[in-house]
Amino acid sequence: MATAIEVQTAHGSGHGQADAHDHAEHPPTSTGLDHRKLLMWAFLASDCMFFGSLIATYMTYRGRSEELQMPPYPSEIFDIPYTSVSAFVLLMSSLTMVLALAAIQKGNVRGLRIWLTATALLGAVFVGGQFFEFTAFYHEGLSLQTNMFGASFYVLTGFHGAHVTIGIIWLLSLVFVSLRGGFAAKDSLTIEIAGLYWHFVDIVWIVIFTLVYLIPYEEVEGGEAVHEAGQMLSTIGGQFAAIGGLW
């Protein structure tokens, strides 16, 4: 097996291509960075746009159902304590994921397996909770076709749930590979890349939890036309200005 210095010499590299862990499985790259990790970051940046478009759609339609008097309304059916627990579960899954990475970086394959399984289980609890929430909402009369709230809410949170589900499958496949002896400390980048995806799913939920669930919904009287999006911006601006004034 060639050493890092040998690889460096062979390629005449002056750009850090000779990272030791690359020499066996990954050729030197022009950036000196592993292409797989770079690709994952590029994917995550593009996935930001994907979720950004869904969040923008939700925010644009925020308050429309109340204005058009098409119940059920979010203020009637959201269960904040329940969703808070779900958010906490997903947050903790990020901790277990990063502990899995720390374990494999130390060559602790058993620890990797335990933490990956814990992460997948926490993810499953989150998805199960979301399924329960969707079912409860449906029984309260909210479907994809009911109103703009239903359409934009289910599409946004449903796609997030799909991302979590893909993550769970990915994590379980890593556990399966590790059971077959497929991981050693030198493979930590594989776990790190899976972790990047998992943490991204977590940060998307941080945004959704705040914008969709926690920011209160304006009371709309008698179907009076209110530009919710503009109202939201002016409310945020006004409240920031008020805080600035206090300081």
Partner: protein, 126 residues
């Protein structure tokens, strides 16, 4: 050999001190203690978010407070759990570019609907 690999994988600098360090693991990742501390802070911030949601007296400042807290959580996760604080700058800029573009599009869309109203409000009566 496994032990050697463990060293260079988890702590690239340790194995490469004195060589180019532009590789993925060019900076030390934080340890378990840091991860747990960050998770505790994130849990506390989440609890604060939910708590202030129920405090009537804070209603006037609720939205900016929630936004600041969620931005802090967001930054903590990408900085520590995703290692953007420690990794190569290219990763940071690549992700921030996507994030900035997303924020711009979202704000532009909201502003547009604010200015021009909704499509069904602009339909001429027949």
């Amino acid at each position: 050999m496994a032990g050697h690999d463990a060293t260079i994988q988890g702590h690239g600098v340790g194995a490469h001190s004195g060589t180019e360090d532009s590789a993925d693991h060019s900076h030390e990742h934080p340890g378990e203690r840091t991860y747990i501390n960050v998770a505790i802070i994130l849990s506390i911030v989440t609890a604060v978010e939910v708590a202030i949601y129920y405090i009537e007296g804070l209603r006037d400042f609720l939205v900016p407070m929630l936004i600041v807290l969620s931005v802090a959580k967001f930054a903590a996760v990408i900085g520590y759990f995703m290692h953007l604080k420690f990794d190569n700058r290219l990763f940071r800029w690549m992700f921030l570019a996507g994030l900035l573009l997303t924020a711009s599009v979202v704000l532009a869309l909201l502003a547009m609907f604010w200015t021009h109203g909704y499509f069904w409000q602009n339909v001429p009566e027949s």
